[in-house]
């Protein structure tokens, strides 16, 4: 469309479709579509988000404050942070390594490898928890050996960390693989041809060019790590103040009919979700 330079291309987004009678809907159709979309959005997304905070503050600020400063809540926060702090770096190292070999080299079975990396996403969280019970549980593969050596993994912190790693396993890798594949190998080859070592090439050339994608993967990984429920629930044992993460703590409070407290703790997680979406927007804006 050579004739359109500076013309249509000066427009972006939805205005484009308004320009041509061929892509413009009649008003009634547009308002119907918009009306249905926004109603669905309001009922299914906006209302639940508002409800978390309304329910959390239903009994007033004092109850809210008590709930989130409760020692058990504090312990849950610390455990949640610990699990995320272990899972994220491990999955970052893995994600970078996987993306490096997949995007910069040709080898057989690459497509299969990519599929296998995605596997944890398609496994039910409950099954994700169960697999570690089968390996490390009392009757699991290493159960006897572990109890002889007095090591506890299932119904203890290590199990929670393992389950968290499992469910957040693909996040970083699947952000980086397409990004690094699109970037090709030109920059790295140039660096190597200029005498850079492998690590120098990685730190100075590759890493700066993938930093936003990496951060994107990390915050998605973090959101899931801190919010995971099903997998962690299976391996936790629900020992209050010891093996409960924030989402499990929410469950306990809820099942004890301490609704306001449950929603108060839940509101912390909802805030985390909002912060995650905010950072995500910021990264999309930055890397656009």
């Amino acid at each position: 469309m050579s004739g359109m330079v500076g013309g249509i291309q000066a427009y972006h987004g939805a205005e484009l479709y308004e320009l041509s009678p061929a892509t413009r809907e009649p008003k009634w159709a547009r308002y119907t579509i918009l009306g249905l979309s926004l109603t669905f959005f309001a009922i299914f997304l906006l209302m639940p988000l508002l409800a978390v905070f309304v329910e959390a503050l239903r009994k007033g600020w004092d109850v809210y404050w008590q709930a989130i400063t409760n020692p058990d809540t504090g312990a849950a926060i610390r455990l949640t942070l610990l699990a995320a702090a272990i899972a994220i770096p491990l999955n970052v190292v893995f994600g970078v390594a996987a993306a490096w070999c997949i995007s910069k080299f040709e080898f057989r079975g690459k497509q299969l490898l990519i599929t296998l990396i995605d596997l944890p996403f398609s496994v039910s969280p409950v099954v994700a928890g169960l697999v570690y019970v089968l390996v490390f549980g009392a009757h699991g593969w290493f159960g006897e050996w572990l109890s002889e050596h007095n090591i506890k993994i299932i119904f203890a912190v290590p199990g929670i960390v393992l389950a968290t790693i499992f469910v957040t396993f693909p996040f970083v890798a699947r952000e980086l693989i397409p990004l690094m594949q699109a970037q090709g190998t030109d920059a790295e080859e140039a660096a190597v041809s200029l005498g850079a070592s492998g690590w120098q090439t990685f730190w100075r050339v590759t890493l700066p060019s993938i930093k936003w994608g990496l951060l994107y993967g990390v915050i998605l990984c973090n959101a899931r790590a801190m919010g995971e429920f099903g997998a962690v629930s299976v391996v936790s044992g629900h020992l209050r103040g010891q093996t409960t993460t924030l989402p499990l703590h929410v469950e306990i409070l809820y099942n004890e009919y301490q609704f306001a407290a449950a929603f108060a703790v839940a509101s912390l997680l909802a805030l985390l979700a909002l912060v995650t979406l905010g950072i995500k927007l910021f990264i999309e804006w930055k890397s656009a």
Binding site: M1, S2, G3, M4, V5, G6, G7, S20, P21
Partner: protein, 359 residues
């Protein structure tokens, strides 16, 4: 069918795409809208099609105002730059589409549709590809199918947006000839947009040369090539040597040198003595004189001689302004007879010179 464009204006935010365009497209002709990127030619084509709305002005189809007619009621055949073939439909279904979407009472019977599509596929010489999908076709085949699809609804006019733009050079040449032949068979009023002057000169009956949202010149290919009406027209069509100087002593004064107007050529009417002018000469309208002693002609130095065919191209630079380049076409034989060689100082004299007032 005739198409008239009256005082069309179109603005995209601050960019004036079309500035008061008025044109007449005669019935049965193949017209090229020619111009550089951003000159407004595609916008004009889309406004004629009804794919875009003008800010003001009228489009008359066969004398009646079509400005309020929706694109699907205008009965135009439009061929898109990238053809826009529906990829989930076979070639056959693509061509049949326009017939199948007609309201029930106008829709031809299935047998009639089949017959029409088969006819059209024969017309574009691709009858054997009816069952293929667009992704299985070459660029040239896609173009022909797109044309067949546009023709299926018996359009009153055919509008083609850069019909050869997406093809590689070799296929392009072949399809140009084909399109020309097809037009001679069908005689349907057609307008095509192109930025390629060679394409316009070769295929069109008439050329509308556009620049910056305005019409520079309208005429037959021969007219616009031989007698460019404006400096832009001269520059855009074919290669041209450009001389900036002053009008003096019946010629063009370029720094110290005088470029004489050939005796055979009448002087341009409204040139003021001493006024700034721009002069153009085609490469074959310049002569190389090895004798530097004379007082007329531009002094230049030969930088390169490309003598591959019967005509040699000589590249020169101005004697005192080495960043000013000229191109001259001479018969290859005369390279030897004039004893021309690279690095030689020569003078250039025009046998044809077009002078325009600068400004």
């Amino acid at each position: 069918m005739s198409i008239q464009v009256k005082n069309i204006n179109k603005r995209f935010s601050t960019f004036k795409a079309l500035d008061d365009i008025s044109l007449d497209f005669p019935t049965g002709k193949l017209v090229a809208l020619l111009g550089p990127s951003g000159c407004g030619k595609t916008t004009l084509l889309r406004i004629i099609a009804g794919l875009e709305t003008a800010d003001s002005g009228q489009i008359l189809l066969e004398g009646s105002d079509a400005s309020n007619l929706h694109v699907r009621e205008r009965q135009i055949g439009f061929m898109f730059q990238h053809y826009a073939l529906f990829q989930h439909m076979t070639v056959f279904e693509n061509v049949a589409f326009g017939l199948r979407v007609k309201p029930k009472n106008e829709r031809p019977a299935e047998t009639a549709i089949r017959q029409r599509v088969t006819e059209l596929l024969e017309l574009v010489q691709l009858g054997s590809l009816a069952k293929r999908y667009p992704s299985q076709l070459s660029g040239g085949q896609r173009q022909r199918i797109a044309l067949a699809r546009a023709l299926a609804v018996n359009p009153r006019v055919l509008l083609l947006d850069e019909p050869f733009g997406a093809l590689d050079a070799k296929v392009r040449k072949e399809l140009r000839r084909w399109l020309r032949q097809l037009h001679d068979e069908l005689h349907i009023t057609s307008i095509f947009v192109t930025h390629d002057q060679e394409e316009a000169l070769e295929v069109a009956d008439e050329i509308v040369l556009m620049n910056k949202g305005q019409v520079e010149q309208v005429g037959s290919p021969l007219e616009v090539f031989r007698h460019p009406a404006t400096p832009f027209a001269f520059n855009f069509l074919g290669t041209a040597n450009r001389f900036d100087g002053k009008w003096a002593r019946g010629g063009v004064q370029v720094s110290e040198d005088l470029l004489p107007l050939p005796h055979t050529q009448p002087a341009h009417a409204n040139l003021a003595e001493g006024g700034n002018v721009i002069a153009f000469a085609r490469p074959h309208d310049l002569h190389i004189e090895p004798n530097v002693e004379g007082s007329e002609g531009i002094r230049a130095k030969i930088s390169r001689i490309l003598a591959f065919g019967p005509t040699a191209r000589v590249e020169l630079s101005h004697a005192t302004q080495p960043e000013t380049y000229y191109e001259v076409d001479v018969p290859t034989l005369s390279i030897a007879s004039l004893n021309l060689h690279e690095g030689q100082a020569v003078r250039l004299r025009p046998s044809q010179l077009q002078v325009f007032p600068a400004g």
